[in-house]
């Protein structure tokens, strides 16, 4: 319930702020100002855009399959929004504490494809159809390396529960009586240096299991493709397919698709932070008398703990979103076949090897 009440307005606000930040960032990269006219520093620009979208005529092409056409944006949006349900924001704040959270998120993200296919197919437009065709091929392909890399994390953490994975990457493991009071965290997993009370970035999955660094890179590339972000924005390549699968959409329905795109960016970044970068744990370790980790993160279930946890998870998530935007405004777009090459011949072999490595590592642990 918290998640529902919190995330729905949050995604909407994030999309508003995200669009503004992205435009400003693009402006900075491209040596221009970005929006400046509406409000101070153009702060109201996205609000003006939303008002424009709300007041636009709702056009449904005459030859479109009207029912499916209307349903598609909802399917896309709902499938992404539902993914937020089991994202743990703090040690206690999580919409649904599923014990198979990872599995659920991956499953629900895949439903997004059905919405995209519905949108492209029902528009009865050739460009939309081409876009949907590309999107489906791309997203289904990239789910394989994504899933394999997530499998590595699951093997290392021995859990599918996102909350448990978060606990295992910080100093609060074993507190509050739940979540494995006996378990310890070792530096690099197998060395006998106990860092259970050190925490910080040393306890993150990418440091606990150094091979997961490669895994993180694979995950990040695959998540860019999942979100249809540049350099993998092939489904909506504006210079080729006008706008891909949402060519025929306008007004509020289009806004929903845009919202879903930003929601997807956010969701994959949340997942990346929880799986690889310590979730809501602080990145600062305890070094001797400098108990940075203790100072910058509070005990779970206390007010200080909640605030610091929220701060750290959002800090990390926004860093990743920033990198996604940065990449978008730097790189050209790949071609559909090159994208498939990258997926099937580069990422999948690497992620399979990683699964093997992690399995062996786990046995040694």
């Amino acid at each position: 319930m918290i998640a529902l009440l919190f995330f729905l307005p949050f995604i909407a606000i994030f999309a508003l702020a995200g669009v503004y930040v992205e435009r400003k960032l693009a402006g900075f990269i491209q040596d221009r100002l970005g929006p400046m006219e509406t409000g101070k520093f153009g702060l109201l620009q996205t609000v003006a855009d939303i008002i424009k979208l709300l007041t636009k005529e709702d056009i449904i092409p005459q030859k479109a399959d009207k029912f499916v056409f209307k349903l598609a944006p909802l399917v896309i949006f709902v499938s992404i929004f539902a993914g937020f349900a089991c994202i743990p924001l703090t040690a206690t704040m999580v919409g649904a504490g599923l014990s198979v959270g990872v599995f659920y998120v991956l499953g629900i993200i895949s439903l997004d494809v059905i919405g995209i296919l519905m949108a492209g197919w029902s528009s009865n437009s050739k460009y939309a159809l081409l876009g949907a065709m590309r999107a489906v091929g791309q997203i289904i392909s990239y789910e394989i390396p994504l899933g394999l890399v997530v499998l590595c994390v699951v093997m290392i953490s021995q859990s599918l529960d996102l909350q448990e994975i978060s606990y295992k990457q910080g100093i609060w493991i074993g507190t509050n009586g739940f979540y494995f009071s006996a378990q310890k965290i070792y530096l690099f997993g197998i060395t006998p240096i106990d860092i259970t009370k050190v925490g910080g970035f040393l306890a993150w999955n990418i440091v606990q299991m150094p091979f997961l660094c490669i895994g993180f890179v694979i995950y990040f590339i695959a998540s860019l493709a999942e979100c249809n972000r540049a350099p993998f924005d092939i489904p909506e390549a504006e210079s080729e397919l006008i706008a891909g699968y949402h060519t025929e959409y306008s007004g509020l329905r289009w806004a929903f698709m845009m919202l879903a795109e930003y929601g997807m960016m956010l969701l994959t970044s949340f997942l990346a932070v929880i799986l690889f970068l310590g979730g809501w744990n602080t990145p600062l370790p305890n070094i001797g008398f400098l108990a940075l980790a203790d100072w910058t993160s509070g005990m779970p279930n206390t007010i200080f703990g909640e605030i610091t946890a929220i701060f750290w998870i959002f800090f990390k998530v926004f860093c990743l979103v920033f990198v996604q935007m940065w990449i978008r405004w730097t790189y050209p777009r790949l071609r559909a076949d090159q994208l498939m090459y990258l997926c099937w011949k580069v990422l999948i072999p690497f992620s399979l090897a990683l699964v093997m490595l992690c399995a062996i590592w786990r046995i040694l642990m």
């Binding site: 040596d31 030859k63 350099p231 080729e240 050209p332 777009r333």
Partner: protein, 413 residues
């Protein structure tokens, strides 16, 4: 002929499509019922973001693979050649600006030289005038190449190089605005002279701009031309072999990208170009095959460096050898009445797009040409598109269109 709009649904349906509408506008080459199994006909343009104007392509695709392609042109036809038959030689110049609107100075320069040749006054034109002409033409050449490279980046999916190059092009446009009062359509180079002399301080500002733009071009080269993704998108794509290029009479960067060292500035040695030192870059197939999209883009970028070289020399000559003097009148040799003897004349020159030629026919009695035929490089370069775009992927088609760098204003005239 058109179905009437139902009264009660005006607010719901804006436009009722009927297959007749397409038939009314332009006949399609491929009918829907003649398509093979699995083929789809896609209409690309004239309002498509990457057709660089109003080109319309009728594309048959099998999934993502292009099987046939048919360009339809004429959406920007403004009867240039017919207009010329009603206008005096001097009045034609503003119309010439509107042919290739991103490099108007180059076209003006060639036209002015063509008419001067008809009048046999080529030798009388003062050197300073010629140097100023070359200066502005080369500035405009850089601007044109910036547009070509930048919009090509957008076609490939990189928006940042486009805006960087637009920023630098803006400086050129401001320089030319200072000089002529117009940003794109100048009417500056006149038959026999110039509209005005350079404003005081122009040479210095020009030099300042050159010092500024050189590192910026290098930056763009690193960001875009040498980018790994850009290379895999453009290398080995849309290869025009030298044979094909010669057979289609291609010119400009497209021809040089295919490996022929043909630059009319060198070959015909018109104006003051023989006195200037510059190279002609040709495509070598460094990243793929000779004559691919990458080569053409690379040649354009190298030409920017060459133009900068020319500009430095021009500025130096204009500051030292052919300095501004108080008695210098750029309109001194502008003929009061342009009435060439009865003759045919074909004059050609190198614009950023390629060989621009004017075929002029005069009857010796009037100051209006009997016929003015333009050999447009863009039109000729566009004609190769169906030959090289068969069997490529849809994304490659966009890459090929961008690499040919045509301006529809000149294709249709």
């Amino acid at each position: 002929m058109f179905p009437t709009q139902p009264q009660n649904t005006t607010n719901k349906i804006q436009y009722i499509y009927s297959p007749q509408h397409l038939a009314n506008s332009e006949p399609n080459k491929f009918a829907e019922n003649s398509l093979k199994n699995g083929e789809m006909s896609v209409n690309l343009g004239p309002q498509h973001p990457s057709t660089h104007g109003v080109l319309r392509l009728e594309v048959l695709t099998d999934g993502e693979i292009i099987t046939e392609i048919e360009p339809h042109i004429g959406y920007l036809h403004r009867c240039f050649e017919k207009h010329c038959e009603k206008l005096t030689y001097a009045q034609i110049i503003p119309y010439i600006d509107r042919m290739d609107y991103v490099s108007a100075m180059n076209s003006e320069h060639i036209y002015a030289m063509a008419v001067e040749k008809m009048l046999n006054i080529t030798e009388q034109i003062p050197k300073r005038v010629e140097y100023i002409r070359v200066l502005v033409a080369e500035l405009n050449r850089i601007a044109s190449h910036f547009v070509a490279i930048g919009t090509y980046g957008v076609d490939i999916g990189a928006t940042t190089p486009f805006l960087w190059l637009m920023r630098d092009r803006e400086h050129i446009l401001r320089l030319l605005e200072w000089l002529t009062g117009a940003r794109m359509l100048y009417n500056y180079i006149w038959v026999g002279g110039l509209y005005y002399d350079l404003p005081i301080g122009f040479e210095e500002k020009c030099k300042e701009f050159l010092d500024y733009v050189l590192p910026k071009i290098k930056e763009t080269e690193n960001l875009m031309i040498n980018n790994k993704i850009f290379v895999v998108r453009t290398a080995n794509v849309g290869v025009i072999s030298l044979d094909l290029a010669v057979n289609y009479a291609l010119s400009g960067a497209v021809m040089r990208g295919s490996g022929l060292k043909m630059d009319l500035r060198k070959k015909d040695a018109y104006s003051v170009y023989p006195e200037l030192d510059f190279d002609v870059p040709v495509g070598t197939g460094a990243m793929g095959t000779q004559g691919d999209c990458w080569d053409r883009t690379w040649v354009r970028l190298q030409e920017c460096y060459e133009s900068i070289k020319i500009l430095y020399q021009c500025v130096e000559k204009l500051q030292k050898e052919h300095k501004r003097t108080t008695d210098f009148n750029p309109q001194a040799f502008v003929p009061k009445k342009i009435r060439p003897e009865k003759q045919f004349l074909y004059f050609r020159g190198e614009t950023p797009k390629g060989e621009l030629g004017f075929f002029l026919q005069s009857d010796g009695k009037s100051d209006i040409p009997l016929r003015c035929k333009v050999r447009s490089p863009c039109f000729v370069n566009l004609s190769v598109l169906p030959a090289i775009a068969k069997g490529v992927l849809f994304s490659d088609l966009i890459a090929i269109i961008g690499s040919l760098d045509f301006v529809m204003g000149e294709v249709d005239r």
